[in-house]
């Protein structure tokens, strides 16, 4: 079968579609014929050899397709349409997917739409609910609102929790899109001091919850934007990981809960439980269309380099996909 791997050599910066053995499946897996895979920042880190936890030479941490071998798992039959997180290997014709995190695709969604769901929606769900404990009608600040996780989080916070959603993004085009998804307060971080706008929008109280993909660059402004006793979930360091001169008293006197998290390196059991709760809780909203996967661009698998480049250019709204069915 064909799979996308990083080219040999020191300069790990290009991938190629090449012949690879069909994946072996373990007792816990089903074999999925991939229709679409999706691109994630963790794939870029793996391509560059920087993540440290890639175990599969084929890139890709999520896919959607059909069951080619149910491998004795009674909940699935050959031909069932499924989507889910995989332990690498998503950019391929076939992938081994742990059965306990394969989610059936509602009939209203295409394979491409389904491939746009697992990583970003599970991350948004995990950070908003498992870690961030978002409550009904609370206020949440979502940075990178037009990103994959951002567009998922806006919808979940509005539809599941009727939250007040404040987003930041770097262009009017992105902010307009966020507003269409339900965001209440769009802030252009290039033109406005987001902490001042957040305080204006919250009667100077600040937000209950921050989803922070940025890290160092936004630290001080996030500290000013959060309510006393607020929760702050750190899920990315696009704006740097190195912080200088932190005053711990500001965490104490504001009773801040700061939690760091990542999804990809979590255990199989964690991903299975998250997928199963998500399928029960959120997929019904997707089936009726009130929450929807957001696709930016679909590239053919052989243009994976271009797809990565597109993500690195940071112009996408929602997910970048690879079509593996050609």
């Amino acid at each position: 079968m064909k799979g996308i791997v990083v080219k040999e050599g020191n300069n790990r910066n290009e991938m190629e579609l090449t012949d690879m053995p069909k994946p072996e499946i373990g007792a816990g897996d089903v074999l999925v014929k991939v229709d679409h895979a999706a691109v994630n920042r963790t794939d870029i880190l793996n391509r560059e050899g920087k993540s440290g936890y890639a175990v599969n030479p084929i890139l890709g941490v999520e896919a959607a397709g059909t069951i080619a071998d149910a491998n004795g798992h009674q909940s699935f039959a050959e031909g069932d349409r499924v989507m889910g997180l995989v332990n690498g290997g998503g950019y391929a014709e076939y992938v081994a997917m742990p059965a306990d995190r394969a989610m059936k695709i509602p009939s209203s969604l295409s394979f491409a739409e389904a491939a746009a769901i697992p990583e970003v929606f599970l991350t948004a769900y995990q950070t908003l609910y498992w870690i961030g404990k978002l409550q009904q009608h609370e206020t949440v600040l979502i940075h990178a609102g037009a990103s994959g996780v951002g567009t998922a989080a806006i919808q979940l916070a509005k539809q599941l929790s009727e939250a007040k959603v404040i987003v930041t993004a770097g262009s009017e085009r992105k902010l307009t899109f966020c507003r269409e998804l339900g965001a209440d307060v769009p802030i252009n971080y290039k033109e406005q001091a987001f902490d001042e706008e957040v305080l204006k929008a919250t009667d100077n109280e600040g937000v209950d919850l921050i989803l922070d993909f940025i890290g160092a660059d936004y630290w001080d402004k996030n500290m000013k934007s959060i309510k006393k006793g607020g929760r702050w979930v750190l899920i990315g360091v696009l704006g740097g990981a190195e912080l200088e001169n932190v005053n711990l008293m500001s965490l104490m006197s504001n009773y801040i809960q700061l939690t760091g998290t990542l999804l990809t390196p979590r255990t199989d059991a964690y991903k299975a439980e998250l997928s199963s709760e998500f399928a029960r809780t959120v997929i019904p909203y997707m089936d009726k269309g009130s929450v929807r996967p957001i696709i930016d661009t679909i590239f053919p698998g052989r243009k994976a380099n271009q797809a990565h480049q597109h993500m690195e250019n940071n112009q996408n709204i929602g997910k970048i996909l690879l079509s593996m069915n050609e």
Copy 2:
């Protein structure tokens, strides 16, 4: 009546016992004739004019004594023995205590013992359970194990949760005492690298929970001592508040939950709920003697300066009290 206030003048470094008006009580308060008050680090900050939230010229945030005026509150009668947090004014003959945080003193405890309970045991309970979510048989690292909060936290973690308790302190005398209270692994931080000892004691896994009174000086070692997904509660910065360099990736890749907290500036409602849950949950253990208040020294009220000095010398094991009934 007599009350202890800071002397006038620029150099706020001395207190005196002086004539003050008897406190006015609001609708929510009872009036307590104070038998013993206790000294806290927040009193030292107030004495130095550094806390920013003192509202009462008389120092002291907790007291034990008898109800002098129940002020219509049906749960109390004149002469009832009570202990609790107050909004300043504890170092006095009489103090106004919000009725909904006054806790009845079990008959097995003296006033002095009772005065040693509220602040440190409520803080230990709040940080271990409300914030730290300590579960049965988990492992907890308690810094400053011989301090007021430390001695309370060791006992609660052992008696309520059968936790494995690792403590740090700076002398063998303190560590022996911690062991007598139930601590499993005593570490002399002056002689041993505590992170290495913690890893030895936990099969290299680290602890589930850290109670951190130290802040900056222990940051790196705490990061090495905590389990993946562990909780870290920051309740003091005795080792400095200013961190020069923080790498946010270590919070993310270890899924750390870091929560800052303080008790004294919390709302009345928060303190009432905490006191009420504590009275239901912990006081039965005190009544039967398996959890006990730890008293270091009792000073007469007129020697409050000496009592503060004793706390600043950092040689105490457990609480420093002021006797106000002389």
